[in-house]
Amino acid sequence: MIFRANFRTLDLSATTGRSNKLASDYPRDLLGYGRTPPEANWPGGARLALSLVLNYEEGGESTVLHGDAGSEQFLADIGPAHIDPLIGQRAYNTESMFEYGSRAGFWRIHRLLTSRQIPLTVYGVGMALERNPPAAKAMAEAGWEVASHAYRWINYADMPEAEERAQIKRAIEAVESTVGERPVGWYCGRVSANTRRLVVEEGGFIYDSDSYADDLPYWNHEHGRAHLILPYSLDNNDLRFSTNGIFTGEDFFEYIRDAFDMLYAEGGETPKMMSVGLHCRLVGRPGRIAGLARFLDHVQAHDDVWITRRREIAAHWIGEHPADGEGAP
């Protein structure tokens, strides 16, 4: 009998038993708020909480210069056809695309957002911040929140637990030393099986964003004490310029405008939150940033939008919607 890999360990007894014998200790939550989400009660009666996120990653990616086995090609302008890392050698083209992000793209985005006084959360990769102190200083001066985006911008899936724990600590220290304040938010991205538990255990984070599961913050109870999740988005995200489907800034604008309009309309009854993910080396390119500027024009033409940093959303949720049961902050 030939089984495909995804059937190798299937419990065949489940195929003949009665239907509703699903595991009671299933750790995923497919129900969430269901039919009736809670009233978020955002400050000022806002219909929508909007969180812009700038991923600061350049200089933290895989490269043989950093002692890695291969050099990163992911999420650059090399495109989906060349996604596999270059093993054992430097990827000079990709390196220079990442450098564009820290050298030019960051400052273009910085000028756009500071001139409009738009609050921002940075997902800051520790090693990347350490390699660009002027950028880190500018984030602090702008009043931006710098959440931790791990110490390296790599796939943590196969990292030993002890090493990942040490890297989380190092990531916190890097933000603290370059920005002047420890991060209270977390986003790893390419997580391991241990990431969330290690983040909860560390104890100093009020939220993490390693989830795409909802339009509102929610409490996770998997790891002892209640842990707040602020879901993020990989569709309202300029990484689509690199991975697939989007070439023009106009398309990017249209997509995030549609998302805003939908949530703003729903917010008349049930206010939600919206995340927009940005990258210095992607939307920071001249051919793309106009799409972001147009989106800001659109948003700023609306009343009742709470444009804010993620830590404010988290603090609001903790105050207004505390976790049930013991262990609540």
């Binding site: 995804n6 309202n236 398309d251 309009d261």
Partner: protein, 305 residues
């Protein structure tokens, strides 16, 4: 060249399709389909060896399943579909009183009883979409047969009515025969080969196929080719306009495939609203569940007629 034992049908209705004679003299039958799949995809929590990444917002470059581990990011994208996307679509369709067929995966419905009850409450048809949302290609025949029965049981238990329609998606060489043998299905939709329902005679008795579509389908948001809701709307609108124009002489049917975790995202749902606005501006449109289309075909176009 012998065409006697060639099991495919390259000719179909040919240059003169039958007049569908839809109820009310409609020019087009429009079938919206919502795929309800989250919680039934490959996942090591479900006893699988790997975790699914297909048809979610990880995109083309990260489509390979994670072997031997959970894929927390993809899991949460599927969860979004069940938690938030489903209810957004439910409000849109019930708010406009537009009928829907759900392609319901048995295990997914079992994990979301409130959604299943809301489907029944809305008068939606729930057709069988496998017990699991997996590739059935190499699943042994007896396991697939058991899964078909288990899917029927799950839909009956969670929605109160057994499914009369079937769509596997990633089907095996056995699927259609097993569906015909089960005996309780009026139709299946594992075919993309026509603009009208047609009879299949491969497995003894005549079996109705109500063809589905993977181009009028929001899965293109995940597989490539479409990013904006505007593009998706434009494609659906063009399909509708073409079939509507043809429908003056030869009425056809149009299927629109939707997924909670894809079109249910705020950046995309607006395109569905725009398309519904467009269609609802036209007279002579029959919004139908697939079972009504199948029942109409059984009655008005029986096999051999």
């Amino acid at each position: 060249m012998s065409m006697e034992d060639y099991p495919r049908d390259m000719i179909g209705f040919g240059p003169q399709p039958p007049h569908a004679d839809w109820p009310g003299g409609a020019r087009i039958a429009v079938s919206f389909v919502i795929n309800h799949e989250a919680g039934a995809e490959s996942c090591i929590l479900h006893g699988d060896a790997q975790s699914e990444r297909y048809l979610c917002d990880l995109g083309l470059v990260e489509a390979e399943p994670v072997v031997g581990g959970r894929d927390f990011n993809a899991e949460s994208m599927f969860e979004y579909g069940a938690r938030a996307g489903f209810w957004r679509l439910w409000r849109i369709f019930t708010g406009r009183d537009v009928p829907v067929t759900v392609f319901g995966v048995g295990m997914a419905l079992e994990r979301t009883p409130e959604a299943a009850a809301a489907m029944a409450e809305a008068g939606w048809e729930v057709a069988g979409h496998g017990y699991r949302w997996i590739d059935y290609r190499d699943v042994p025949e007896e396991v697939e047969r058991a899964h078909i029965n288990q899917c029927i049981d799950a839909i009956t238990a969670t929605t109160g009515a057994r499914p009369v329609g079937w769509f596997s998606g990633r089907r095996s060489v056995h699927t259609r025969r097993l569906v015909v043998e089960e005996g309780g299905f009026l139709y299946d939709s594992d075919g993309y080969s026509d603009d009208l329902p047609y009879w299949n005679h491969d497995h003894g008795r005549p079996h109705l196929v109500v063809p589905y579509s993977r181009n009028n389908n929001d899965l293109r948001f995940a597989t490539g080719g479409v990013y904006t809701g505007g593009d998706f709307f434009a494609y659906l609108r063009d399909s509708f306009d073409t079939l509507y124009a043809e429908g003056a002489e030869h009425p056809k049917m149009m299927s629109i495939g939707l997924h909670n975790r894809l079109i249910g995202r705020p950046g995309r749902a607006g395109a569905l609203l725009r398309f519904l606005d467009h269609v609802q501006k036209h007279d002579g449109v029959w919004f139908a569940r697939r079972r009504e289309i199948a029942e109409h075909w059984h009655t008005r176009h029986p096999p051999g007629a």
